[in-house]
Symmetry: C2
Subunit: 212 residues, 2 copies
Amino acid sequence: MSSIFSEIDRVFVIVCSKATTAPFNLNDMPGSAGRMDLVCRFIAQVIFVSHGVRKDSMAIAVLKGEPDPPKAILVKGNEVRYMAPDERNIGGLIRKALSVNFKSGEQIGWVRSTPGIYVARKNLKDVLSELEDGGYRIYYLKENGEDIRSVKFGKKLAFVLGDHLGLSEEDEKIVEAYADVTVSLSPISLQADQCVVIVHYELDRSASRVHF
Amino acid sequence: MSSIFSEIDRVFVIVCSKATTAPFNLNDMPGSAGRMDLVCRFIAQVIFVSHGVRKDSMAIAVLKGEPDPPKAILVKGNEVRYMAPDERNIGGLIRKALSVNFKSGEQIGWVRSTPGIYVARKNLKDVLSELEDGGYRIYYLKENGEDIRSVKFGKKLAFVLGDHLGLSEEDEKIVEAYADVTVSLSPISLQADQCVVIVHYELDRSASRVHF
């Protein structure tokens, strides 16, 4: 049986401090759903390019909001179907994943909700530990780290970033236990989805190694 | 009286081939509103950074869809209020702007709809002509142009790009009459909002001129 990480070279993990862990109102994603709009934009930017998806990329959102934390949502570029880049479409798919019923207690594996979309009873440490076991090198995206243009990247990369509130002190300690490099992108503090666009862009340029 | 372009250094113009020119259903922006979701994401990426707006930036969307084309929507970073980066919020503000009643005939100036948001009976040529008169240098963002990292940028920049369908042959001729350089960003074909993020990023980095 193939791993959930098969053929995935780029993973982006966002920690969502307030995002709800139960089905929510699609008309109020920034409010009662705890900034679920931000999660949708993050996923869109991990997965989509013009007229297509990045088959080598995966988004993981660790949701810490009430009423049933923690839950993690995973979206695989090489399996996803019926997803459009607009927030309402992605929100609908997340909502569906959040309606999956977990058996009480031991259930910690990824459960498939719709094609390419999985949900699990995992916290940040569970996710990072699984990525480490899967052979990923983990990078923490944050201000005041090493300039992305100075970092030499290999294959199998995982980037961890916070939402609009940033990581809690506790979560930051967890990330720092797994990430040996903190990477920075810009002199300006950016939104999570903007960070994803820029990481993809820098990796695409260095992968192509051509002047175009 | 100050110009609509006061204190604006970066302008992004998108040409939206199908986007509706009348008030629309916020629950169906990708469908019956003619990919208005894409327009919302474009505006968000022109204007927002983490916890703030780019006061030096302006988005202009030229809407060519039925039933009342052409209309142009303009959003100014240094005037906008009550805007959040989610699609539904921005869509609501666009919808309000599209409900402005134009007097028949001569009305071609910008009409303020809500703070920082204007609407006009303008087509692509009107917009580019106004930008040229305002002292902007116009760049066409498209595949197979000059690499953005080779281009020397001054102040007062305007970037023109197409939506998911690209520019029509006719519109491309208009842009080429105003833009002396075609600029490319990436070896991969990207969505309009992703192009905006990257242009901002490259300009921010070259403006800061520091290794951070």
